[in-house]
């Protein structure tokens, strides 16, 4: 009932390797089938995201013994040379594998600390493997624990609450002013990559209306088409600024595009409704004095970057709390694992002791000719009762007492103490 993990991630492998070792859903299904057919793993789960490819499994034999076979399998499956792959792969066994998975689902192992997407990806990978019948009791328990860890970390800590990119920080700030953005309108000045990122965030929040204004009409058309917006002619400020609540500007220009007088006129025309301006251009696109106008909020790239920096620090300060939750669940899982193994161990001990008892009685009672059959049966019964007393009591305690199971996590030691290799369950 050991656990093995072989994988690579953004820290151990460059993108050229990661993209070659990633799994589609179909590949994940096929890999699980082949690993079982070759007798490498009894239970398999493939977790593949853009930043990691990991195979979790329960081997029939020792986890350390199956790891090389698993690495070779990955190399063959993805047609990547073993020497290239071996430098990127990491191997974790048993409690290290459990800890690794729990850290992954908590977002502690992500490229962006505390990112939320990974929990959904773990959930999806587990759902898929479970549906395919690739998981068993061990991986089911392991991944259910991982999902619980991820959920707890997200609800009990602030690891994933604050925006970590300039685009998301800007959108979150807009929400501080307007609340939900689903009934709001936005104007995007410039159609570069950074605008796209902000527009994507606004769309995710269901922004009601999107207008795009760009010097190049074609590019504006393209962005508007991509996100379902409308194009406004360059320089038509009176029309453009009348309705939006949020303006995102990332125009390449030497002089500010939005001058104070333009915004002043627009604010008068829109009845001073609050206006949030995100100036992502360098040099700045919005005259700094615009921020002095009533009900106008201006944030430039530096302001937003500073917010991101503060948020990163805040997230890092939450790591110990998240790690505490991970540790708690690792202990919980190992305790469960030990209890299952202990039950098997007690059963194996009972069988062994019965056998020992039989041969012991045979050899010791041979010289005692004066004993009748009834006497012999009586002695055997007494010995059976003693063995049951010695074994059943502790076994019942192990089933009932969580704390005891936690203390006896290293079942291997007990196994080695009482049973030879041949007799292990």
């Amino acid at each position: 009932m050991e656990i093995v993990l072989v994988g690579l991630n953004h820290r151990t492998a460059p993108v050229e390797v990661r993209e070659r070792v990633s799994f589609t859903a179909e590949q994940a299904r096929r890999a699980a089938e082949e690993l079982r057919a070759r007798g490498i793993l009894e239970e398999t789960l493939v977790l593949s995201t853009c930043n990691r490819s990991e195979v979790y499994g329960v081997p029939p034999e020792s986890s350390h013994e199956c790891a090389p076979g698993l690495s070779t399998f990955l190399s063959e499956f993805h047609s990547v040379r073993a020497d290239i792959l071996s430098v990127s792969l990491y191997h974790h066994y048993d409690h290290e594998a459990v800890r690794h998975l729990f850290r992954v689902s908590a977002g502690l192992d992500s490229m962006m600390l505390g990112e939320a997407e990974i929990l959904g990806q773990v959930r999806e990978a587990y759902r898929f493997a479970h549906e395919q019948g690739a998981t068993g009791p061990v991986l089911n328990r392991l991944f259910q624990g991982a999902l619980e860890v991820g959920k707890r970390v997200r609800t009990e800590t602030e690891l994933g609450t604050r925006p970590m990119s300039v685009a998301s920080a800007g959108v979150k700030l807009a929400e501080r002013i307007f609340g939900k953005l689903s009934e709001r309108r936005a104007l995007v000045l410039g159609a570069g990559t950074i605008s796209e990122q902000v527009v994507s965030q606004l769309r995710d929040r269901g922004i009601a209306q999107l207008h795009v204004m760009n010097r190049s009409r074609d590019r504006a058309d393209e962005l508007a088409r991509q996100f379902g917006g409308k194009v406004v002619g360059w320089g038509e400020w009176e029309t453009a600024l009348q309705s939006p609540d949020v303006v995102v500007s990332s125009v390449s220009a030497d002089e500010p595009v939005l001058r104070r007088d333009i915004v002043e006129r627009a604010m008068a025309a829109r009845g001073n409704r609050a206006l949030f301006l995100m100036d992502l251009g360098v040099p700045r696109n919005i005259d700094p004095s615009v921020g002095e106008l009533y009900n106008v909020y201006v944030y430039n790239t530096d302001d937003l970057s500073e917010i991101v920096r503060q948020n990163r620090n805040a997230r890092e300060s939450e790591v110990p709390r998240a790690q505490g939750i991970v540790d708690e669940h690792v202990t919980k899982f190992l305790s469960w694992q030990a209890s299952v193994e202990l039950v098997g161990l007690v059963d194996a001990l009972r069988v062994k002791m019965r056998e020992e008892r039989a041969s012991f009685i045979r050899s010791r009672m041979e010289p005692m000719k004066h004993l009748t059959e009834t006497d012999r049966a009586q002695v055997e019964k007494l010995m059976d009762e003693m063995l049951e007393k010695l074994l059943v009591g502790p076994a019942e305690r192990l089933r009932g007492e969580k704390e005891l199971r936690r203390k006896i996590q290293n079942v291997e030691a007990l196994r080695d103490l009482f049973l030879s290799n041949r007799e292990k369950p």
Partner: protein, 270 residues
């Protein structure tokens, strides 16, 4: 007098305050819900504390200054709870609870006035007083909301966000909450004042129609109508309307204190 309900009230309000503060700092939903639950329990205990005090003194809760203050605290808690449920916004709780606690403690730690029972009786008078105090509580709530609005707006404009801004309600929601609260206050004070005049009309031989309290109450009414009217206009929406709301509440405080205690012939503690 039995102190069980006052003690329970203080405990529930204190714990609710602590939980609201924790909710503001951590954002954990469960903490916020527990804060609301304890506020609800505090409200119940406060109700029984008011009832017990009135029974002990053989008079109405608004018989003396302390009773009026306690009733004010209870109605403030009730109005806030209604507003929280209606707008689904708990972040304000941490700012409102200290006011509720102060009014309750001030009312219950001080000795009761040994005043003769008020000459006024009857349902009309009771509704007049209760609705007027409810209005003051609603205005107090809008005052707190306007203060939060101005604080948050200042932080957003100065780009000094800190940790708290991410937990506070959005500015536009604060404006809406403040308007809802003022609306509750306006309806209450309008009905309460009308009932007051009805009651005075019945006892016209004993009371004067020309009381400074009436003038100030009408002024308060007009100022809050003005606030509701201006808060939606281009020139006033946002921080200016919030400042007006704060100013209006200062007039309410003036009406509650100086006018009641020194100028009014017919009003004592409400």
């Amino acid at each position: 007098m039995n102190h069980l309900f006052p003690i329970l009230t203080v405990l529930a309000y204190l714990m609710s305050f602590g939980l609201y503060v924790r909710f503001l700092a951590s954002g954990k939903k469960l903490t916020g819900r527990l804060g609301t639950l304890l506020l609800g329990l505090g409200l119940m205990a406060h109700y029984f504390a008011l009832l017990e005090r009135s029974r002990g003194l053989h008079t109405v809760p608004y018989h003396d200054l302390y009773g009026s203050m306690s009733l004010f605290g209870w109605l403030l808690a009730l109005t806030y709870l209604g507003l929280e449920v209606y707008h689904r916004q708990r972040s304000v709780g941490a700012f409102v609870m200290p006011f509720i606690l102060v009014f309750f403690l001030a009312a219950h730690l001080a000795p009761a006035d040994r005043l003769s029972p008020p000459a006024a009786h009857g349902a009309t008078f009771a509704f007049h007083v209760t609705l007027s105090i409810l209005a003051y509580a609603a205005f107090a709530l809008s005052f707190v909301l306007s203060l939060i609005f101005l604080g948050e707006e200042r932080l957003l404009r100065s780009h000094k966000l800190g940790n708290m801004v991410w937990r506070l309600p959005p500015l536009e929601l604060l404006e809406r909450m403040s308007k809802s609260s003022v609306l509750v206050g306006l309806v209450s004070i309008a009905i309460g004042t009308a009932l007051g005049f009805v009651w005075v009309d019945r006892l016209s031989s004993e009371y004067s129609f020309y009381d400074p309290k009436y003038v100030v109450t009408l002024l308060v009414l007009l100022l809050y109508v003005l606030y509701l009217g201006l808060a939606g206009t281009g020139a006033w929406r946002g921080a200016r309307a919030s400042r007006l709301c704060i100013f209006n509440f200062l007039i309410v405080v003036l009406s509650f204190t100086v006018v009641n205690l020194y100028l009014s012939h017919s009003h004592r503690y409400f």
